[in-house]
């Protein structure tokens, strides 16, 4: 795929669209557009652009399409699979300046926002009005709503509340050919036409650039209760989770951290807990119901004889427990210079088998790397974290082998999916055909070509094209 290159004349046109203060080719700004939360992988754009309106986005895309300049949209840059990295260079389209609340409608329980608003900021706004936006990725202090929509983010509350797509009513988006379109409906029900809203959700910025988001909002629960149980082994933790789910209680969170992850997280949160496999449960709803559900959960967990338990007695304690879980990834970075986080799903009952297989991978490869797993046990969504020193080429090589074993030999044979919530990005492209088959992947590529004939939007991301995606370019960090 031959792409056009940025030149002085195009740069002048881009500056005239967004203003010279919102366009930069400075080496420092290119470096700042070259990364996201994915470690070890960096690709530099040729220019960073921060548009302020959909009209500006449209003009930028029209220009880029005419000259076949790649455009990679980016929210806060918190993805973990290279989703927002400008693999083919070109334009890094930084959407984080478009961050306003456009319209809140409490009676209809909807809100319209620009894509750059941060998840936690949106929830602060909504909390003042008695509502919340339930999807709760660990990156919620930084992740933008636009990025969450583009990646169909899940998070800790997905078991009860679903993922981002379950809360999006409509989108305004700019097609790579410059047209501004609106998908979906303001109403809760609509089966009018193909569901293009759902098609754009999770498309990782390969089909269109999202410029407005219409969301459903949910009334804040009256009460929340959280408790923590620590078990000797992962099997007991999984059995507890399965029993809780089949008891009729639908927790708002059912989370898991293995020994190394929980140790790092509790140290970060300055909590004095014994080492072991931690299960964190949160129930929410009416106070009386929460009390009963929390009691039921506690009874089930105690039967499994945890070595330790703690029940949050105040909202501060609950927040502390949950923030410890949310900080699991960065907290693990205290244990190793590089933490490479993966994302997979398996049927819940297969978790012990998957966990055991994952734990053996470094040993089987004879690789000088470690692994620690946490995740959303209620949905069978595990996050194995490979621990290494990314500065060492041998360890980077071992990591690539470990990822291949993980997806090829563990996830697919166990009937899982190669990503539960982080997306394909560039790091899981090789497994798309393995999971979906050649026919369906071909269909996906046709969809991409229909939206984006010149393949300018977020190229080389596996959900679209060009195909095949490049292998991980590791060690290219600036």
């Amino acid at each position: 795929m031959e792409y056009g290159r940025l030149n002085e004349r195009l740069m002048a046109e881009l500056e005239s669209i967004v203003g010279s203060e919102n366009a930069s080719t400075r080496v420092e700004d290119l470096l700042c557009g070259s990364y996201e939360a994915t470690p070890l992988i960096d690709y530099r754009p040729d220019v960073v652009i921060a548009p302020k309106t959909a009209e500006q986005v449209s003009k930028v895309l029209l220009l880029a399409n005419r000259h076949r300049i790649p455009v990679t949209p980016r929210g806060a840059g918190t993805s973990l699979a290279g989703n927002s990295l400008p693999v083919a260079g070109g334009i890094c389209l930084d959407m984080s300046s478009m961050k306003s609340v456009l319209e809140f409608d409490g009676a209809n329980q909807t809100i319209a926002v620009e894509p750059g608003i941060v998840c936690d900021t949106l929830n602060d706004y909504l909390a003042d009005r008695g509502f919340f936006f339930p999807p709760d990725p660990a990156s919620s202090p930084a992740a933008t709503i636009g990025g969450m929509v583009a990646n169909n983010s899940g998070g800790n509350r997905a078991l009860k509340y679903g993922v981002t797509r379950d809360h999006v009513l409509w989108l305004e988006a700019v097609l790579p050919t410059g047209e501004v379109v609106k998908t979906g409906s303001r109403t809760l029900k609509s089966v009018s036409g193909y569901d293009l809203t759902r098609l754009l959700i999770g498309s990782e910025g390969t089909l269109a650039v999202i410029t407005k988001v219409g969301l459903k909002v949910t009334a804040l629960p009256e009460a929340r209760a959280a408790s923590l149980y620590i078990f000797d082994d992962v099997e007991e933790a999984v059995r507890t989770a399965v029993e809780i789910k089949s008891s009729g209680v639908l927790p708002s969170m059912l989370e898991f951290m293995d020994e190394a992850s929980s140790k790092a997280s509790f140290e970060y949160a300055q909590m004095d807990c014994p080492e072991g496999c931690a299960v964190l449960v949160e129930c929410d709803g009416w106070a009386e119901a929460v009390e009963r559900e929390a009691e039921a959960v506690h009874g089930i967990a105690l039967k499994r004889k945890p070595k330790f338990f703690a029940r949050a007695s105040s909202s501060e304690e609950r927040e502390r427990l949950i923030s410890a879980r949310k900080a699991a990834l960065p907290a693990l970075s205290r244990a190793a210079p590089t933490v490479f986080m993966e994302d997979l799903t398996v049927p819940v009952t297969k978790i012990p088998e998957a966990y055991a297989r994952i734990a053996r991978i470094p040993h089987e490869l004879g690789a000088p790397i470690g692994v620690s797993t946490f995740g959303h046990i209620g949905e069978g969504n595990l996050h194995p974290n490979f621990l290494l020193d990314g500065r060492d080429p041998e360890q980077r090589e071992a990591l690539l082998k470990a990822l291949d074993v993980l997806y090829r030999d563990v996830v697919i044979p166990l009937g899982g999916s190669v990503t539960g919530e982080h997306g394909i990005g560039i790091s899981r492209g090789d497994y798309m055909e393995l999971e979906h088959g050649v026919k369906l992947v071909g269909l996906m590529r046709e969809i991409k070509r229909t939206f984006d004939p010149n393949m300018i939007l977020n190229p080389y991301k596996a959900k679209g094209g060009p195909w095949p995606p490049p292998g991980l370019m590791m060690g290219a960090a600036p």
């Binding site: 420092e28 470096l31 700042c32 918190t78 990156s139 202090p141 930084a142 960065p330």
Partner: protein, 396 residues
């Protein structure tokens, strides 16, 4: 740049910077990153720029200098970072490194450095004007167990803070002394803006004077002075006032709380609702969150808490040389913070920092809400007068 780094103040942070996992948790509440959303303005962006410098993939540039000074040193990023990167201290060290390399430092900061060296204060005010706040009869100079350090801001720009503090201590029957015109600068703004050799000279000079006075407790009004004496002197210059001189450094809010607990001052209340604004250098940097709150509650006022308080508190926008270098943006941040707290339905904002008072008042001006902003000692003195506690009014 690379070959020089090991010999610069940034040296101690190189391993630290590598711990950054680029999670971005530091970005959203960063006051300046939010004022001007642009990755290089965010703490995460700054850390990557410094990594680029350290690895040699970037050369020191005026653009990097500007980014490093686009920061109020509020420390939100420092407390937010789950990986434990000492971001804020690294940015200060980067400033010191860039100053050492002779790069384009903001002119306003150079004027401040010049003023401190010529007049002993950052405002270019005559040294003699420093004692303007001192009421008649207050002990100046001489030996005492307690030394009250008013600081430049309270001495020159917010005299009410120093006057109320002196009166409260007097009312408590506490014997104390001040340095008057000889007080000088603590070095805080020099450290924050990267002028470490100049700050070190002041630190040595101040330590010598403290030793001569033989005081056991040093009380500051300004959280910047407090952090500088208690934290930066030992960390940066190896001058440990507590360990070497037996001099305990405390913030005035801690002393007020102590005196209140001992029953030496009391107040029965103004019957008002107030919000407390946590000054960054007192809260996030020094971990002092409760003493000012206890004093406010002890004054009988109803304290309302905003969700962005304590370690999550938004900055007033004044610190780290940001107000002098980026006046308009600094005021925008002050207005945002003032508006945030005003939304609680309060009668007044109380804080414990003269810098915050001045900036928040300016921020409040544009809101048209007329909610007053008080420094803690001024608020406490009003409450004591109202409550007819043991306070002896000596206001001239």
């Amino acid at each position: 740049m690379r070959p020089d780094i090991p010999e610069t103040p940034l040296k101690g942070f190189l391993e630290d910077l590598e711990k950054c996992v680029r999670c971005g948790f530091c970005k959203e509440l960063c006051p300046v990153g939010d004022l001007y959303p642009w990755e290089a303005n965010s703490p995460r962006g700054k850390v990557q720029l410094l990594k680029g410098l350290a690895r040699g993939s970037l050369r020191a540039s005026d653009y990097i200098v500007d980014r490093m000074y686009f920061c109020t040193t509020c420390g939100y990023c420092l407390r937010r970072c789950p990986s434990g990167v000492r971001t804020n201290e690294a940015f200060e060290a980067a400033r010191a490194t860039l100053v050492g390399l002779g790069l384009g430092i903001p002119e306003e900061h150079l004027r401040i450095v010049d003023s401190i060296s010529r007049f002993g204060n950052p405002f270019g005010e005559p040294e003699g004007a420093r004692e303007r706040w001192i009421p008649p009869g207050l002990k100046v100079g001489g030996r005492s167990e307690v030394l009250y350090w008013a600081g430049c801001m309270a001495s020159y720009r917010l005299e009410e803070t120093a006057i109320s503090t002196a009166r409260i201590l007097d009312a408590a029957g506490l014997e104390f002394t001040t340095l008057g015109r000889a007080e000088g600068d603590c070095g805080s703004i020099l450290i924050r803006t990267g002028h470490w050799p100049e700050a070190k000279r002041l630190a040595e000079e101040n330590a010598r004077r403290f030793e001569e006075l033989g005081a056991k407790t040093l009380v500051t009004s300004c959280p910047g002075c407090f952090r500088t004496f208690a934290n930066d002197y030992p960390r940066l210059f190896g001058i440990d006032l507590k360990g070497d001189l037996g001099l305990e450094v405390i913030h005035s809010s801690q002393l007020f709380e102590r005196l209140m607990g001992e029953g030496r001052i009391g107040a029965s209340g103004l019957g008002v609702k107030v919000a407390y604004h946590d000054p960054c250098h007192l809260g996030r940097h020094m971990g002092i969150y409760d003493p000012p709150r206890n004093v406010i509650r002890g004054s009988g006022a109803e304290l309302l808490e905003h969700s962005k308080s304590r370690w999550l508190a938004s900055c007033c926008g004044a610190g780290g040389g940001f107000r002098s270098a980026h006046g308009e943006l600094s005021l925008r941040q002050a207005a945002r913070r003032a508006e945030q707290l005003s939304g609680l339905g309060i009668d007044a904002i109380v804080t414990a920092c003269p810098f915050c008072v001045v900036n928040l008042r300016k921020g409040m001006e544009g809101l048209g809400k007329g909610i007053p902003v008080y420094d803690l000692p001024v608020f406490l003195e009003m409450a004591m007068a109202k409550g007819k506690g043991p306070f002896r009014s000596t206001r001239p």
